[in-house]
Amino acid sequence: MDKPKKETKITRRSVLRDGVRSFFVLSMGGASGYLVSRVQAEDYVWQIDPHKCISCGNCASHCVLEESASKCVQSYPMCGYCKLCTGFFNAAPSALDTGAENQLCPTGAIIRTFVEDPYFDYTIDESLCIGCAKCVKWCEAFGNASLYLQVRHDRCLNCNECSIALACPADAFVRVPKSKPYRLKIENKPE
């Protein structure tokens, strides 16, 4: 006895069962047709609308990943390259140098590089950034708001429902098409 055999006895119950099954198969066919028609050509992913984000800090603590997928990015053409960067230095730096006690970032994720007098370039080391938005807040308050948060898609799992989106008080999480997965403040120019 290898083959599964169909229940051979024909009873009222089995006829009913066959009938209902056929009905289910047909209606499932219809349902699949409808649902597939609701699928759009493109998949969507989660992203932060930087103009809505209020730098609340929830990004750092609410991602399903231990180290949030939301991280700070720098919009270089917007940056003032300030010597006194309010996103980099805390409110009372003892010196304008890279001493850890002067930095605002809790993990030292911002790299400050001298460009030319009196300008400095500020770059985020994403392996260190935890997405706490401290620098974002202060850059926005006193600088050019060139630092902002974005969901980094090399890390994000694209959860069915993003748990930061649920916790975001500013409703800043949006779904964007996969082919255009970032909401940059200034679009990258095509090379």
């Binding site: 289910f24 198969v25 699928v39 270089y76 010196a95 050019n144 898609h153 090399d154």
Partner: protein, 433 residues
């Protein structure tokens, strides 16, 4: 350098006085003389679209294999290896997302929100297991579902749950299902994702509540077969309904033969084996018939009462909705009942939107929750009524059988059956000839 310490507070003061707006270029970007060019903002790409087709193909292959092992080959070992594979692929590699159970919500939301764009993977994960169930029974649960897999593998010392308790706890799945569909339809929350107890194992990270829930379930699951599957899983509501009409199914003995030794009843850790009706069972007595009539007449009453009771869920349930929560907070703040702002109310106020439309949409959502509560209640009442009627209809069974809707097609019962063991022995000796 102390001068800096003085400059910054002044800046802060200035900023707060002038109320600078967002994205104002306070310091124009410099004209560099050293030939410095602006670096580009890096934009690492998301996982390729093509991978979701791979997932769907793997799902289809796994379902086919599960049907082959569990129904055609009657091979528990095959099911077991498939379980491990599914745990590794859908669990640890795909990190448990997207899954068939969660896809209920995507499908529901798509039905209620015309603007929602449904992911193809969600459609496939929702429909494929149901199609397979119509033909082969719950083979998805047997060896494909990663949530089932992780529980199946920790089950080391199964104990039987008393049948009445098993039945009563089983009602939870309907409540969970109904609530999840309601929240998804309202666009308020995906609670199945939020409280997925095992996803934190798959991702090896997660919130403390969910990890605790998962650990508890796994510990219980060492002794009680698949507690999430039996008493919580919302998808099982659909699988049970579809399984009831499946074309083929697990038969304990080969070809459904049975010597009534009752060893399979102990072998099944999921309470899925039904006893044969005794040969000398009396024909449906007058009392039974009366009970059936009574339950059928009572059914509309049960449904109505349950629906009415369900409408009371509106107040707590509407709290799941962001708009409702925000509106209530703003109202409290306006009334002076609470002090200060929270982030959400602050950002709402900063946006300068008037409160009236917010209150209006919150009121509308609350109203919809009242309707939703009635429907949810009626659905639960309907399930209760159906169960009562079902149990009062006498069925004649001539053998120990795997129940169509409760059997998870895991294949544990096969080898407990003496007829099956005989068949295997014959097969083996045949292959030596």
């Amino acid at each position: 350098m102390n001068i800096m310490a003085r400059i910054i507070p002044v800046l802060i003061l200035l900023a707060s006085l002038s109320g600078w707006a967002q994205d104002v270029q306070r310091f124009p970007p410099p004209d560099f003389e050293s030939g410095y060019t602006f670096p580009m903002t890096q934009t690492p790409a998301p996982r390729g679209v093509v991978m979701s087709y791979v997932d769907i193909a793997v799902l289809f292959a796994a379902l086919s294999l599960a049907s082959y092992f569990s129904i055609h080959k009657r091979n528990r070992q095959g099911v077991f290896y498939l379980t491990i594979f599914s745990l590794l692929y859908f669990g640890f590699y795909r990190e448990g997302c997207i899954c068939a159970i969660g896809a209920i919500q995507n499908v529901t939301l798509a039905l209620f929100d015309p603007n929602y764009s449904l992911p193809l993977a969600a459609v496939a994960f929702f429909l494929l297991p149901l199609f397979f169930t119509l033909f082969f029974g719950r083979v998805f649960c047997a060896g494909v579902c990663p949530l089932g897999a992780i529980q199946d593998l920790v089950l080391i010392k199964p104990m039987q749950v008393p049948r009445w308790l098993h039945q009563a706890l089983g009602m939870l799945t309907y409540v969970y299902f109904g609530a999840a569909v309601l929240f998804a339809a309202m666009g308020s929350a995906f609670i199945i994702c939020k409280y997925d107890p095992f996803v934190s194992f798959f991702r090896l990270t997660g919130s403390i509540t969910v990890v605790t829930l998962g650990v508890c379930l796994l510990i219980i699951g060492m002794f009680i077969g698949r507690p999430y599957c039996l008493y919580l899983c919302p998808y099982s509501v659909l699988l049970k309904a579809f399984g009831q009409f499946s074309q083929w199914r697990v038969t304990v003995g080969p070809g459904g033969d049975c010597v009534q030794c009752d060893s399979c009843e102990d072998a099944c850790p999921f309470n899925a084996i039904t006893k044969p009706t005794p040969d000398d069972a009396p024909p449906p007595s007058e009392v039974d018939k009366k009970r059936l009539v009574l339950f059928s007449v009572l059914a509309p009453v049960v449904i109505l009462v349950a629906a009415w009771a369900g409408s009371f869920s509106a107040t707590p349930f509407s709290q799941m909705d962001y708009t409702v929560r925000l509106a209530e907070r703003i109202a409290l703040e306006d009334a002076g009942a609470v002090e200060g702002f929270i982030d959400a109310s602050q950002s709402f106020r900063d946006s300068g939107q008037p409160a009236a439309p917010l209150f209006e949409s919150a009121r509308r959502i609350r109203e919809q929750y009242v309707w939703g509560g009635w429907i949810l209640g009626a659905f639960l009442g309907f399930v209760i009524a159906l169960k009562l009627i079902w149990h009062s209809v006498q069925q004649t069974r001539i053998a120990y059988e795997a129940d169509r809707s409760d059997c998870l097609a895991c294949g544990r019962c096969y080898c407990s059956c003496p007829l099956e063991r005989k068949r295997l022995k014959q097969l083996k000796s045949a292959s030596f000839v």
